[in-house]
């Protein structure tokens, strides 16, 4: 009966064929569905492509803009250290030599530039002072520092490599062009002609700039002399504080929560608290640092110690979460075995579980440190920006307590300044920061690969 009712009437057969009974022939509906499928898949591919494209754009921007900071333009000059200008009494008394300010050195440099230009036979309408302006304002200070260091060289002619002014540097790096200097008071077309001639004579050259990596920040007028070194030390001291505080406290807290804590409301509160702290905006930790450490406890502001304390509080949840995960990964059989041979609960944790979880803890700590290293917002509030971090700290306590900057804060500081020459420094600073972060993350990955045990 059922067969009968299902068997199609003979007239319907061609109609069904039209609907596409064959698997090889797609109906419109199937086509639509397949098209929707392809579209949907394409959306996914496009989404991932956009994400990866952004990464590529970001990385290429950073490198194309920042690599220039690692090269710097220098001008080589023979400078005659005239005795009657630098040491009038001629007795090489250091105190008297120190009395000559950088203004006293300016004419000497001016003469040296003029001498070089005439020696090379370059024709220029510029006066010697304008010629000397292609040098950095730092040049006189460099010269003075050298003379104070080597008073016996007074009277001799010494060859120096001076920093060129940032516009000249920009001209050689194609950041500054002859069209863009129209309203620029710092440089003129004639000076650029002179620069071209000096480049042709190999007097001006671009070389690797170690002082960008190791040097200190410089004032607004001397972007060519600014470097990351001192702020790197600031970051280093902060990371030391974070490591010394966050690692033991974080590990201790995780051990308690994972191994000993009874299941009660207090433990619940602590756990909820930690997961929420991990999501509190970093600037809130900055407010905490300002209110508690600086305003209430009167710790010195801008000090890496305070920065380190704030970052410790910020990093703790990260370290606790990863430490708990790696403690949890140690199988209970290890604990049972330890307890079985007579160890106390505490001994089983400290002698057996903790060493087995150590690689995981270390990985989590490194990742937490990398996070803290790149954090900027809280540092703004505790005053690690807005001044020139010029002196490298001499001792550990000075490094912890005297005002300093930190790498991300230094980058922010440069990005805020008006002179576009600082932007190149900021991008360059980011390259250095990223090198540190990549190194730390790679280390974490290697540690995980090398030591992680699967049970």
């Amino acid at each position: 009966m059922t067969d009968l009712s299902q068997s199609p009437a003979s007239g319907d057969v061609p109609k069904q064929k039209k609907l596409g009974n064959s698997l090889l022939e797609l109906t419109d509906r199937t086509k639509r569905r397949n098209a929707a499928e392809t579209r949907f898949k394409a959306y996914g591919i496009v989404a991932i492509a956009i994400g990866l494209l952004m990464l590529v754009v970001l990385v290429t921007t950073i490198f194309s803009r920042g690599l220039g900071a690692f090269q710097q333009t220098f001008i080589t000059l023979e400078v005659e250290l005239l005795e009657d200008k630098l040491d009038k009494s001629g007795n090489r008394d250091l105190d008297e030599i120190k009395k000559v300010t950088t203004f006293g050195y300016a004419p000497i440099i001016r003469d040296a530039v003029a001498a070089k230009v005439s020696e090379l036979g370059i024709e220029t309408p510029l006066k010697p002072k304008a010629m000397a302006d292609i040098l950095s304002k730092d040049a006189a200070a460099t010269l003075r520092a050298y003379v104070i260091e080597n008073p016996d060289q007074i009277g001799e002619t010494v060859e120096f490599r001076f920093l060129a002014q940032s516009r000249v540097d920009g001209y050689l790096k194609s950041r500054v062009s002859r069209d863009s200097i129209g309203n620029d008071k710092n440089i003129s077309a004639e000076q650029l002609d002179l620069v071209d001639a000096l480049v042709a004579a190999d007097v001006i050259e671009k070389t690797f700039n170690l002082s960008f990596i190791l040097g200190s920040d410089a004032s607004d007028a001397r972007p060519e002399a600014a470097g990351m070194g001192v702020s790197m030390l600031g970051s280093l001291f902060m990371m030391l504080v974070v490591l010394v505080l966050a690692l033991p406290i974080g590990v201790a807290a995780s051990i308690y929560l994972e191994e000993f804590a009874p299941q009660n409301w207090l433990t619940d509160i602590i756990e909820v608290n930690i997961s929420n702290l991990a999501a509190v905006p970093s600037i809130v930790f900055g407010i905490l640092g300002l209110a508690v450490f600086i305003n209430y406890m009167h710790l010195p502001s801008s000090a890496p110690l305070v920065g380190g304390l704030v970052l410790t509080l910020m990093t703790l949840p990260t370290i606790i979460i990863s430490t708990r995960a790696s403690l949890k990964a140690v199988p209970p059989s290890i604990r049972d075995a330890a307890l079985g041979v007579g160890a106390s609960k505490m001994q089983s944790v400290f002698h057996h579980v903790l060493p087995l979880a150590a690689p995981g803890i270390l990985t989590g700590t490194i990742i937490g440190l990398a996070q803290a290293l790149g954090e900027t917002a809280p540092l703004l509030l505790i005053g690690m920006v807005g001044f020139i971090a010029s002196n490298a700290p001499g001792t550990i306590s000075e490094g912890l307590l005297s005002p300093n900057s930190a790498m991300p804060a230094q980058i922010y500081e440069w990005a805020k300044r008006a002179d576009p020459a600082f932007y190149e420094r900021a991008w360059g600073g980011i390259i250095i920061l990223l090198v540190f972060l990549i190194t730390m993350n790679t280390l974490a990955v290697i540690l995980r690969r090398r030591f992680e045990r699967r049970w």
């Binding site: 499928e37 996914g44 989404a47 921007t61 201790a252 308690y256 509190v280 809130v284 790149g374 900027t376």
Partner: protein, 492 residues
Amino acid sequence: MPTFWLVLVLIALSVAGFFLGRNRALVSANGNPKDLHSLPSYYGHNVALSALVPALVILGAWLLLQPILIESRVSSLIPDDVITEGTTRGLVMSDVRRVAEGLDLAVAQGAMTSDQASSVRTEFSDVRGRLGEIGVALGSDVRPEVLRAAQSYRTMNATGTLVMTVIVALAALGGFAWSYGRTHRDFRARNVVEQGIMALLILAASLAILTTIGIVLSMVFETRNFFALHPWTDFFFGSSWAPNFRGDSDLSILPLLWGTLYVSVIALLVAVPIGLFAAIYLSEYASATTRAFAKPLLEILAGIPTIVYGLFALLTVGPALVKFFGQGENGILGVEWMSGATSVLTAGLVMGIMLIPFVSSLSDDIINAVPQAMRDGSLGLGATKSETVRQVVVPAALPGIVGAVLLAASRAIGETMIVVMGAGAIAKFSGNPLEAMTTITTRIVSQLTGDTDFASPETLVAFALGLTLFVLTLGLNVLALYIVRKYREQYD
């Protein structure tokens, strides 16, 4: 740095305690460790911990409490008539501290002897000038009351530090002597040490709570001070933000909240579709190799510090947008819609890029948690893969995805560097995404950097803003975690 040295001495004492305690235990057992109740090192640890921990606790508590006590004592020394119109006790106290620091510096540099520093009188000597010579600049002449308060501040600080050193040293020696005296072969050293360590572990775990309490208290106190100086109705319901350091500012959160939400919405409009589609593709379509390659690469975006994004917004995206929408001969579209590089769109776009991996990896986890049986059922009924995803997988994962989006939103609201560098500084209600607007976090930074005066509403407003931000993000997080957890339970 006497505290530093004190801590070093304590550590040295405790290291010595370890060896002495262990030795004494061994001697009491005639050198045979088997006769001891615990392993020898436990006796050492016992002495070391008893010497170190109580002393450090006292030191920490003292360092926390001494400033409050001295502050209140000195503050009560200042007669009321010194606090004239236009100043507050807090301002006078900061003068006192500054003078005291100046005197300290003068003694340290040898410009004054310590006797001079505590006996100098404004009536006979130009204190301001003398402090100016050593580089401590004072705003106004030092009043005799302030100087006297500063001097007693110095004396109290010095006495306090001295007493602290003595008490801490006594505590350390006492702990050392007590535990050393108890060290004997029958002493249950391991149990005592383990109890001590347990206490330390609990202390470390409760630090998380302390941090939260610290955050809340520090902000609540200053917010209360702020509302004492500024009407709360204006803060919550006013319509303009115009801080004015001569007083009489308009400090309303609403324009800032508008800017914050505007930037966050744009960021989510960028991040959620891209992140979600990326997650769907990675978990449903991609081959294992593509996944292993694309997922970590996308997650790099989340590991890049926000200062990098900020710089990217300020120097790359902003100028690019200006080139597009900006004015004059440089504009590609030839329209004049955008004047500067900072705008809501600049910050929103860049923040969106930052949030892509955030949305994608959270959603990826959640989509992966949807049971395979549900997919198989749908595919078995003849649905295509995309139909399965749209009609089965995504609805099943929806609560989790909503949670992920909420987490991303909380990140966007609390993000600082990108908006500080990319969004601008003008507080206004405007619908135009190409205009510069300001956000809560940007204003917190600008009100609290530079010279801050904790007695003016213009500074204190930052704490009220911070508290609002904290409550807002905390609320979003708790909600998101609740949803995610609830959803996980559904399939576990």
